[in-house]
Amino acid sequence: MKHIFAVIAAVAMVWAFLPAPGPQPAPQPAPQPTPTPVVVVPTSPVTAALLPATKQDKARVAAFYSAMADVVERDPKLVKTVNNFRELHTRSLDAAFKGTDLPGKYPGLDLAINDRLKAAVGTDDVPLLPAKQQLLVQALKDVANDAR
Protein backbone atom coordinates (compact mmCIF):
# COMPACT_ATOMS: atom_id res chain seq x y z
CA MET A 1 0.00 0.00 0.00
CA LYS A 2 2.91 2.35 0.87
CA HIS A 3 4.24 1.79 -2.64
CA ILE A 4 0.95 2.80 -4.20
CA PHE A 5 0.98 6.09 -2.28
CA ALA A 6 4.58 6.65 -3.37
CA VAL A 7 3.61 6.12 -6.98
CA ILE A 8 0.58 8.40 -6.65
CA ALA A 9 2.89 11.03 -5.21
CA ALA A 10 5.22 10.47 -8.16
CA VAL A 11 2.38 10.93 -10.63
CA ALA A 12 1.30 14.07 -8.83
CA MET A 13 4.89 15.41 -8.87
CA VAL A 14 5.41 14.72 -12.55
CA TRP A 15 2.02 16.16 -13.35
CA ALA A 16 2.66 19.25 -11.25
CA PHE A 17 5.99 19.98 -12.94
CA LEU A 18 4.82 19.55 -16.47
CA PRO A 19 4.83 22.88 -18.28
CA ALA A 20 1.61 24.77 -17.81
CA PRO A 21 -0.27 25.82 -20.91
CA GLY A 22 1.55 28.80 -22.40
CA PRO A 23 0.25 32.35 -22.31
CA GLN A 24 -2.70 33.03 -24.52
CA PRO A 25 -1.72 34.61 -27.87
CA ALA A 26 -2.80 38.16 -28.43
CA PRO A 27 -6.15 38.36 -30.18
CA GLN A 28 -5.79 38.53 -33.91
CA PRO A 29 -8.21 40.08 -36.35
CA ALA A 30 -10.71 37.48 -37.50
CA PRO A 31 -9.75 36.10 -40.90
CA GLN A 32 -12.16 36.49 -43.76
CA PRO A 33 -14.08 33.28 -44.38
CA THR A 34 -12.97 31.51 -47.52
CA PRO A 35 -14.66 28.45 -48.97
CA THR A 36 -12.71 25.27 -48.21
CA PRO A 37 -13.33 21.69 -49.26
CA VAL A 38 -14.90 19.50 -46.58
CA VAL A 39 -12.28 17.12 -45.22
CA VAL A 40 -13.36 14.38 -42.85
CA VAL A 41 -10.55 13.72 -40.41
CA PRO A 42 -10.97 10.55 -38.36
CA THR A 43 -10.84 11.39 -34.68
CA SER A 44 -10.36 9.13 -31.72
CA PRO A 45 -13.17 8.87 -29.15
CA VAL A 46 -10.96 10.76 -26.67
CA THR A 47 -10.44 13.61 -29.14
CA ALA A 48 -14.14 13.60 -29.99
CA ALA A 49 -15.15 13.79 -26.33
CA LEU A 50 -12.79 16.74 -25.85
CA LEU A 51 -13.91 18.67 -28.95
CA PRO A 52 -15.81 21.25 -26.87
CA ALA A 53 -13.00 21.46 -24.28
CA THR A 54 -10.92 24.54 -23.58
CA LYS A 55 -7.21 24.45 -24.38
CA GLN A 56 -6.50 24.48 -20.67
CA ASP A 57 -8.67 21.45 -19.99
CA LYS A 58 -7.15 19.54 -22.91
CA ALA A 59 -3.72 20.33 -21.53
CA ARG A 60 -4.71 19.14 -18.04
CA VAL A 61 -5.89 15.78 -19.38
CA ALA A 62 -2.88 15.40 -21.67
CA ALA A 63 -0.43 16.26 -18.89
CA PHE A 64 -2.04 13.80 -16.50
CA TYR A 65 -1.93 10.85 -18.92
CA SER A 66 1.55 11.73 -20.09
CA ALA A 67 2.67 11.59 -16.45
CA MET A 68 0.86 8.28 -15.92
CA ALA A 69 2.64 6.83 -18.97
CA ASP A 70 6.00 7.99 -17.63
CA VAL A 71 5.42 6.47 -14.22
CA VAL A 72 4.21 3.12 -15.55
CA GLU A 73 7.08 2.99 -18.04
CA ARG A 74 9.85 4.00 -15.65
CA ASP A 75 8.82 2.10 -12.54
CA PRO A 76 7.00 -1.04 -13.62
CA LYS A 77 8.02 -2.95 -10.50
CA LEU A 78 5.33 -1.25 -8.45
CA VAL A 79 2.61 -1.74 -11.04
CA LYS A 80 2.83 -5.48 -11.42
CA THR A 81 -0.78 -6.33 -12.20
CA VAL A 82 -3.86 -4.84 -13.82
CA ASN A 83 -5.35 -4.34 -10.35
CA ASN A 84 -2.21 -2.43 -9.25
CA PHE A 85 -2.70 -0.16 -12.24
CA ARG A 86 -6.43 0.21 -11.56
CA GLU A 87 -5.70 1.33 -8.00
CA LEU A 88 -2.96 3.73 -9.07
CA HIS A 89 -5.12 5.19 -11.84
CA THR A 90 -8.17 5.57 -9.60
CA ARG A 91 -6.33 7.23 -6.75
CA SER A 92 -4.25 9.44 -9.02
CA LEU A 93 -7.36 10.68 -10.82
CA ASP A 94 -8.96 11.46 -7.48
CA ALA A 95 -5.81 13.24 -6.30
CA ALA A 96 -5.59 15.30 -9.48
CA PHE A 97 -9.20 16.12 -10.32
CA LYS A 98 -11.58 15.30 -7.46
CA GLY A 99 -13.26 18.51 -6.34
CA THR A 100 -12.40 20.32 -9.57
CA ASP A 101 -14.87 21.06 -12.35
CA LEU A 102 -13.39 18.39 -14.64
CA PRO A 103 -15.14 15.12 -13.66
CA GLY A 104 -18.20 14.77 -15.87
CA LYS A 105 -17.59 18.07 -17.68
CA TYR A 106 -17.02 16.32 -21.02
CA PRO A 107 -19.56 13.49 -21.35
CA GLY A 108 -18.10 10.28 -22.70
CA LEU A 109 -14.49 11.17 -21.91
CA ASP A 110 -14.27 8.71 -19.02
CA LEU A 111 -15.68 5.89 -21.15
CA ALA A 112 -13.45 6.75 -24.11
CA ILE A 113 -10.34 6.63 -21.91
CA ASN A 114 -11.48 3.39 -20.28
CA ASP A 115 -12.12 1.79 -23.68
CA ARG A 116 -8.65 2.74 -24.90
CA LEU A 117 -6.95 1.32 -21.80
CA LYS A 118 -9.18 -1.76 -21.79
CA ALA A 119 -8.27 -2.46 -25.40
CA ALA A 120 -4.62 -2.55 -24.32
CA VAL A 121 -4.71 -4.66 -21.17
CA GLY A 122 -8.28 -5.92 -20.64
CA THR A 123 -9.94 -5.77 -17.24
CA ASP A 124 -8.99 -9.14 -15.77
CA ASP A 125 -6.55 -8.90 -12.88
CA VAL A 126 -3.57 -10.48 -14.56
CA PRO A 127 0.17 -9.80 -14.38
CA LEU A 128 1.46 -6.87 -16.42
CA LEU A 129 4.15 -8.77 -18.25
CA PRO A 130 6.63 -6.60 -20.22
CA ALA A 131 4.69 -6.82 -23.49
CA LYS A 132 1.41 -5.96 -21.80
CA GLN A 133 3.06 -3.18 -19.81
CA GLN A 134 4.30 -1.63 -23.07
CA LEU A 135 0.78 -1.82 -24.50
CA LEU A 136 -0.48 0.02 -21.45
CA VAL A 137 2.22 2.69 -21.71
CA GLN A 138 1.38 3.20 -25.38
CA ALA A 139 -2.34 3.44 -24.58
CA LEU A 140 -1.66 6.08 -21.93
CA LYS A 141 0.49 8.03 -24.39
CA ASP A 142 -2.27 7.73 -27.00
CA VAL A 143 -4.78 9.19 -24.57
CA ALA A 144 -2.39 12.05 -23.84
CA ASN A 145 -1.79 12.72 -27.53
CA ASP A 146 -5.47 12.47 -28.41
CA ALA A 147 -6.30 14.94 -25.66
CA ARG A 148 -3.98 17.62 -27.05
Partner: protein
Protein backbone atom coordinates in the same frame (compact mmCIF):
# COMPACT_ATOMS: atom_id res chain seq x y z
CA UNK B 1 -18.35 -36.09 21.35
CA UNK B 2 -17.66 -34.58 17.95
CA UNK B 3 -18.75 -36.44 14.83
CA UNK B 4 -16.10 -38.32 12.92
CA UNK B 5 -15.44 -36.84 9.48
CA UNK B 6 -16.98 -38.88 6.71
CA UNK B 7 -14.08 -37.95 4.43
CA UNK B 8 -10.60 -37.44 5.86
CA UNK B 9 -8.68 -36.52 2.72
CA UNK B 10 -9.00 -35.71 -0.98
CA UNK B 11 -8.26 -39.36 -1.69
CA UNK B 12 -11.20 -40.41 0.50
CA UNK B 13 -13.48 -38.14 -1.48
CA UNK B 14 -12.31 -39.43 -4.86
CA UNK B 15 -12.69 -43.00 -3.66
CA UNK B 16 -16.19 -42.48 -2.28
CA UNK B 17 -17.58 -40.55 -5.24
CA UNK B 18 -15.84 -42.66 -7.87
CA UNK B 19 -15.72 -46.26 -6.73
CA UNK B 20 -18.18 -46.14 -3.86
CA UNK B 21 -21.01 -44.52 -5.79
CA UNK B 22 -21.45 -41.88 -3.07
CA UNK B 23 -24.28 -39.44 -3.90
CA UNK B 24 -23.53 -35.85 -2.92
CA UNK B 25 -25.73 -34.67 -5.76
CA UNK B 26 -29.28 -36.04 -5.45
CA UNK B 27 -31.36 -35.01 -8.44
CA UNK B 28 -34.98 -34.28 -7.59
CA UNK B 29 -37.49 -33.45 -10.29
CA UNK B 30 -40.02 -32.56 -7.60
CA UNK B 31 -37.67 -30.00 -5.95
CA UNK B 32 -36.92 -28.54 -9.35
CA UNK B 33 -40.55 -28.16 -10.34
CA UNK B 34 -41.40 -26.62 -6.96
CA UNK B 35 -38.59 -24.12 -7.36
CA UNK B 36 -39.48 -23.22 -10.93
CA UNK B 37 -43.19 -22.88 -10.16
CA UNK B 38 -42.42 -20.21 -7.57
CA UNK B 39 -39.57 -18.45 -9.38
CA UNK B 40 -40.29 -14.94 -10.65
CA UNK B 41 -37.68 -15.28 -13.42
CA UNK B 42 -38.69 -17.96 -15.88
CA UNK B 43 -35.76 -17.99 -18.27
CA UNK B 44 -32.23 -16.68 -18.44
CA UNK B 45 -31.85 -13.95 -21.04
CA UNK B 46 -28.22 -13.11 -21.65
CA UNK B 47 -27.64 -9.37 -21.53
CA UNK B 48 -24.49 -9.66 -23.68
CA UNK B 49 -22.92 -12.47 -25.66
CA UNK B 50 -19.64 -13.99 -24.55
CA UNK B 51 -18.93 -15.58 -27.94
CA UNK B 52 -15.19 -15.38 -28.63
CA UNK B 53 -14.55 -13.79 -25.22
CA UNK B 54 -13.25 -14.95 -21.88
CA UNK B 55 -14.21 -14.41 -18.24
CA UNK B 56 -11.71 -15.58 -15.63
CA UNK B 57 -14.05 -14.87 -12.75
CA UNK B 58 -12.34 -16.87 -10.02
CA UNK B 59 -9.71 -14.11 -10.07
CA UNK B 60 -12.33 -11.67 -8.78
CA UNK B 61 -13.19 -13.91 -5.85
CA UNK B 62 -9.50 -14.47 -5.06
CA UNK B 63 -8.94 -10.70 -5.11
CA UNK B 64 -11.36 -10.32 -2.18
CA UNK B 65 -10.92 -13.73 -0.53
CA UNK B 66 -7.40 -15.09 -1.14
CA UNK B 67 -8.36 -18.37 0.55
CA UNK B 68 -11.38 -18.96 -1.64
CA UNK B 69 -11.85 -22.48 -3.09
CA UNK B 70 -9.69 -23.99 -0.33
CA UNK B 71 -12.49 -25.46 1.84
CA UNK B 72 -12.51 -29.24 1.46
CA UNK B 73 -15.86 -30.90 2.13
CA UNK B 74 -15.84 -33.47 4.94
CA UNK B 75 -19.39 -34.76 4.45
CA UNK B 76 -21.72 -35.11 1.44
CA UNK B 77 -22.41 -31.38 1.21
CA UNK B 78 -20.94 -30.69 -2.24
CA UNK B 79 -24.14 -28.94 -3.35
CA UNK B 80 -23.78 -26.31 -0.63
CA UNK B 81 -20.11 -25.80 -1.56
CA UNK B 82 -21.02 -25.43 -5.24
CA UNK B 83 -23.80 -22.96 -4.53
CA UNK B 84 -21.66 -20.98 -2.06
CA UNK B 85 -18.83 -20.73 -4.58
CA UNK B 86 -21.28 -19.52 -7.24
CA UNK B 87 -22.91 -16.88 -5.05
CA UNK B 88 -19.59 -15.64 -3.61
CA UNK B 89 -18.23 -15.29 -7.12
CA UNK B 90 -21.28 -13.25 -8.18
CA UNK B 91 -20.92 -11.07 -5.07
CA UNK B 92 -17.22 -10.49 -5.72
CA UNK B 93 -17.81 -9.43 -9.31
CA UNK B 94 -20.63 -7.10 -8.24
CA UNK B 95 -18.55 -5.38 -5.60
CA UNK B 96 -15.60 -4.92 -7.94
CA UNK B 97 -17.88 -3.63 -10.72
CA UNK B 98 -19.29 -1.11 -8.25
CA UNK B 99 -15.80 -0.16 -7.03
CA UNK B 100 -16.82 -1.21 -3.54
CA UNK B 101 -14.39 -3.97 -2.50
CA UNK B 102 -14.63 -3.06 1.19
CA UNK B 103 -18.23 -4.32 1.31
CA UNK B 104 -17.06 -7.90 0.68
CA UNK B 105 -17.11 -8.66 4.43
CA UNK B 106 -16.38 -12.40 4.42
CA UNK B 107 -16.69 -15.68 2.62
CA UNK B 108 -20.16 -17.17 3.12
CA UNK B 109 -21.07 -20.42 4.86
CA UNK B 110 -22.27 -23.75 3.50
CA UNK B 111 -23.89 -25.20 6.63
CA UNK B 112 -27.31 -23.43 6.64
CA UNK B 113 -27.95 -24.55 3.06
CA UNK B 114 -26.95 -28.16 3.72
CA UNK B 115 -29.06 -28.26 6.87
CA UNK B 116 -32.09 -27.52 4.70
CA UNK B 117 -31.68 -30.58 2.45
CA UNK B 118 -34.94 -32.08 3.68
CA UNK B 119 -33.74 -35.46 4.93
CA UNK B 120 -31.31 -37.01 7.40
CA UNK B 121 -29.02 -38.77 4.93
CA UNK B 122 -26.17 -37.37 2.89
CA UNK B 123 -26.51 -35.43 -0.36
CA UNK B 124 -28.85 -32.70 -1.62
CA UNK B 125 -30.68 -31.56 -4.71
CA UNK B 126 -29.40 -28.28 -6.20
CA UNK B 127 -32.98 -27.06 -6.64
CA UNK B 128 -33.58 -27.38 -2.91
CA UNK B 129 -30.38 -25.41 -2.19
CA UNK B 130 -31.50 -22.76 -4.66
CA UNK B 131 -34.89 -22.49 -3.01
CA UNK B 132 -33.39 -22.08 0.47
CA UNK B 133 -30.96 -19.40 -0.69
CA UNK B 134 -33.63 -17.54 -2.68
CA UNK B 135 -36.38 -17.70 -0.05
CA UNK B 136 -34.45 -17.84 3.23
CA UNK B 137 -30.90 -16.67 2.50
CA UNK B 138 -27.33 -17.28 3.62
CA UNK B 139 -24.80 -16.23 6.26
CA UNK B 140 -21.17 -15.14 6.39
CA UNK B 141 -18.44 -17.28 7.91
CA UNK B 142 -18.50 -15.65 11.35
CA UNK B 143 -19.76 -16.10 14.89
CA UNK B 144 -23.33 -15.12 15.64
CA UNK B 145 -23.36 -14.72 19.41
CA UNK B 146 -25.82 -16.97 21.14
CA UNK B 147 -26.93 -18.61 17.90
CA UNK B 148 -24.17 -20.32 15.94
CA UNK B 149 -20.45 -20.11 15.18
CA UNK B 150 -19.81 -20.45 11.45
CA UNK B 151 -16.28 -19.03 11.54
CA UNK B 152 -14.70 -22.30 10.44
CA UNK B 153 -16.26 -24.83 8.10
CA UNK B 154 -17.88 -27.69 10.00
CA UNK B 155 -19.54 -30.14 7.65
CA UNK B 156 -21.10 -32.03 10.53
CA UNK B 157 -23.09 -29.00 11.64
CA UNK B 158 -25.12 -28.93 8.41
CA UNK B 159 -25.29 -32.73 8.39
CA UNK B 160 -26.65 -32.74 11.94
CA UNK B 161 -29.21 -30.00 11.25
CA UNK B 162 -30.55 -32.11 8.38
CA UNK B 163 -30.90 -35.12 10.67
CA UNK B 164 -32.69 -32.98 13.26
CA UNK B 165 -35.34 -31.74 10.85
CA UNK B 166 -33.66 -28.80 9.15
CA UNK B 167 -31.71 -25.60 9.68
CA UNK B 168 -32.81 -24.16 13.07
CA UNK B 169 -35.32 -21.33 12.93
CA UNK B 170 -33.04 -18.86 14.74
CA UNK B 171 -30.34 -19.52 12.12
CA UNK B 172 -32.91 -19.06 9.35
CA UNK B 173 -33.92 -15.73 10.92
CA UNK B 174 -30.32 -14.55 10.59
CA UNK B 175 -30.13 -15.86 7.01
CA UNK B 176 -33.09 -13.69 5.98
CA UNK B 177 -30.82 -10.63 6.00
CA UNK B 178 -28.99 -11.90 2.89
CA UNK B 179 -30.76 -13.48 -0.03
CA UNK B 180 -29.60 -14.40 -3.49
CA UNK B 181 -31.44 -12.01 -5.82
CA UNK B 182 -32.23 -14.25 -8.76
CA UNK B 183 -31.51 -17.90 -9.50
CA UNK B 184 -32.30 -19.40 -12.88
CA UNK B 185 -32.02 -22.82 -14.44
CA UNK B 186 -30.03 -22.75 -17.68
CA UNK B 187 -30.06 -25.34 -20.40
CA UNK B 188 -27.32 -24.61 -22.92
CA UNK B 189 -23.56 -24.12 -23.14
CA UNK B 190 -24.14 -20.73 -24.77
CA UNK B 191 -26.25 -19.55 -21.81
CA UNK B 192 -23.49 -20.63 -19.43
CA UNK B 193 -20.86 -18.83 -21.51
CA UNK B 194 -22.94 -15.66 -21.57
CA UNK B 195 -23.77 -15.82 -17.85
CA UNK B 196 -20.07 -15.99 -16.99
CA UNK B 197 -19.21 -13.25 -19.48
CA UNK B 198 -21.62 -10.98 -17.63
CA UNK B 199 -20.11 -11.91 -14.27
CA UNK B 200 -22.68 -14.37 -12.93
CA UNK B 201 -21.58 -17.56 -11.13
CA UNK B 202 -22.85 -21.04 -11.94
CA UNK B 203 -23.11 -24.34 -10.10
CA UNK B 204 -24.41 -27.64 -11.31
CA UNK B 205 -25.07 -31.18 -10.19
CA UNK B 206 -24.34 -33.97 -12.65
CA UNK B 207 -23.30 -37.58 -13.08
CA UNK B 208 -19.90 -36.94 -14.63
CA UNK B 209 -16.26 -37.35 -13.68
CA UNK B 210 -12.96 -35.86 -14.77
CA UNK B 211 -9.50 -37.36 -14.70
CA UNK B 212 -7.17 -36.23 -11.93
CA UNK B 213 -4.29 -36.01 -14.41
CA UNK B 214 -4.15 -33.50 -17.26
CA UNK B 215 -3.92 -35.01 -20.75
CA UNK B 216 -1.76 -34.06 -23.72
CA UNK B 217 -4.20 -31.29 -24.63
CA UNK B 218 -3.42 -29.52 -21.33
CA UNK B 219 -6.90 -30.15 -19.93
CA UNK B 220 -8.55 -32.63 -17.57
CA UNK B 221 -10.39 -35.15 -19.72
CA UNK B 222 -13.63 -36.87 -18.77
CA UNK B 223 -13.41 -40.25 -17.02
CA UNK B 224 -15.73 -42.92 -15.75
CA UNK B 225 -17.54 -43.97 -13.65
CA UNK B 226 -19.27 -40.62 -13.15
CA UNK B 227 -19.55 -38.83 -9.83
CA UNK B 228 -22.96 -37.79 -8.46
CA UNK B 229 -21.45 -34.42 -7.60
CA UNK B 230 -22.06 -30.67 -7.60
CA UNK B 231 -19.40 -28.07 -8.45
CA UNK B 232 -19.22 -24.38 -9.35
CA UNK B 233 -18.16 -23.22 -12.80
CA UNK B 234 -16.05 -20.11 -12.29
CA UNK B 235 -14.71 -19.10 -15.67
CA UNK B 236 -14.52 -19.69 -19.38
CA UNK B 237 -12.17 -18.89 -22.23
CA UNK B 238 -13.71 -18.91 -25.69
CA UNK B 239 -10.92 -16.86 -27.29
CA UNK B 240 -8.98 -19.99 -28.34
CA UNK B 241 -5.77 -18.09 -27.54
CA UNK B 242 -4.28 -20.62 -25.15
CA UNK B 243 -6.27 -23.71 -26.11
CA UNK B 244 -7.37 -24.42 -29.70
CA UNK B 245 -10.90 -25.05 -28.40
CA UNK B 246 -13.34 -23.46 -25.94
CA UNK B 247 -12.76 -24.23 -22.25
CA UNK B 248 -14.55 -23.90 -18.92
CA UNK B 249 -12.98 -23.77 -15.46
CA UNK B 250 -14.63 -25.72 -12.62
CA UNK B 251 -13.93 -25.18 -8.90
CA UNK B 252 -14.12 -28.43 -6.96
CA UNK B 253 -14.53 -28.81 -3.17
CA UNK B 254 -12.14 -31.71 -2.66
CA UNK B 255 -8.94 -29.82 -1.84
CA UNK B 256 -5.78 -30.87 -3.73
CA UNK B 257 -7.29 -33.91 -5.36
CA UNK B 258 -5.82 -33.53 -8.86
CA UNK B 259 -2.74 -32.42 -10.78
CA UNK B 260 -2.99 -28.84 -12.08
CA UNK B 261 -2.68 -28.37 -15.85
CA UNK B 262 1.03 -27.79 -16.54
CA UNK B 263 0.82 -25.04 -19.17
CA UNK B 264 -0.96 -22.32 -17.24
CA UNK B 265 -1.19 -19.03 -19.19
CA UNK B 266 1.03 -16.35 -17.68
CA UNK B 267 -1.68 -13.72 -18.06
CA UNK B 268 -4.23 -15.72 -16.01
CA UNK B 269 -5.07 -15.41 -12.29
CA UNK B 270 -3.58 -18.27 -10.19
CA UNK B 271 -4.93 -21.79 -10.71
CA UNK B 272 -6.77 -22.73 -7.48
CA UNK B 273 -6.07 -26.14 -5.94
CA UNK B 274 -8.36 -28.78 -7.37
CA UNK B 275 -9.54 -26.73 -10.35
CA UNK B 276 -10.74 -28.73 -13.36
CA UNK B 277 -9.91 -27.32 -16.79
CA UNK B 278 -12.30 -28.86 -19.29
CA UNK B 279 -13.27 -28.63 -22.93
CA UNK B 280 -16.62 -26.95 -23.49
CA UNK B 281 -17.79 -30.11 -25.25
CA UNK B 282 -17.01 -32.13 -22.11
CA UNK B 283 -18.48 -29.48 -19.81
CA UNK B 284 -21.79 -29.65 -21.72
CA UNK B 285 -22.85 -32.55 -19.49
CA UNK B 286 -23.14 -30.04 -16.61
CA UNK B 287 -25.93 -28.20 -18.38
CA UNK B 288 -27.51 -31.09 -20.22
CA UNK B 289 -28.00 -32.96 -16.93
CA UNK B 290 -30.81 -30.51 -16.12
CA UNK B 291 -29.45 -29.10 -12.84
CA UNK B 292 -27.34 -26.08 -13.82
CA UNK B 293 -28.10 -22.86 -11.97
CA UNK B 294 -27.02 -19.25 -12.48
CA UNK B 295 -26.84 -16.87 -9.51
CA UNK B 296 -27.43 -13.13 -9.59
CA UNK B 297 -27.15 -10.92 -6.53
CA UNK B 298 -29.92 -8.62 -7.73
CA UNK B 299 -33.34 -8.99 -9.31
CA UNK B 300 -32.75 -10.17 -12.87
CA UNK B 301 -29.52 -10.15 -14.86
CA UNK B 302 -28.56 -6.61 -15.85
CA UNK B 303 -25.65 -6.29 -18.30
CA UNK B 304 -22.42 -5.61 -16.45
CA UNK B 305 -19.17 -4.38 -17.85
CA UNK B 306 -16.54 -6.04 -15.72
CA UNK B 307 -14.48 -3.66 -13.59
CA UNK B 308 -13.29 -0.49 -15.29
CA UNK B 309 -9.70 0.67 -15.10
CA UNK B 310 -10.38 3.69 -12.92
CA UNK B 311 -11.55 6.47 -15.23
CA UNK B 312 -15.33 5.93 -15.12
CA UNK B 313 -16.91 8.85 -13.23
CA UNK B 314 -13.55 10.34 -12.31
CA UNK B 315 -12.76 12.51 -15.32
Amino acid sequence: MPDEPLFDSPEDLVRAYEAGGFQGYRPSERDKQEFLATNPVRAFDAPASGAGKRALLWGYTLALDPGAYSERQTVGDCVSHGSRNARDLTRAVSLLVDGDPFSWHKRTATEPTYGARGHGGEGMSPARASRFERDVGFLAREKFDGVVDLTNYDGHLGARWGRQGGTPSNVQDLCRRNKVGTITLITSVEQARDALFNGYGIHSGQMAAWSSKPNSQNIHGRSSPGWAHDMATVGMDFTRTHWPFDVFFIANSWGRWNTPVPKWPADYPPQPAGMIVTKADDWATCVHGGDCWVYSDVQGYPPRALPDLGSIGRI
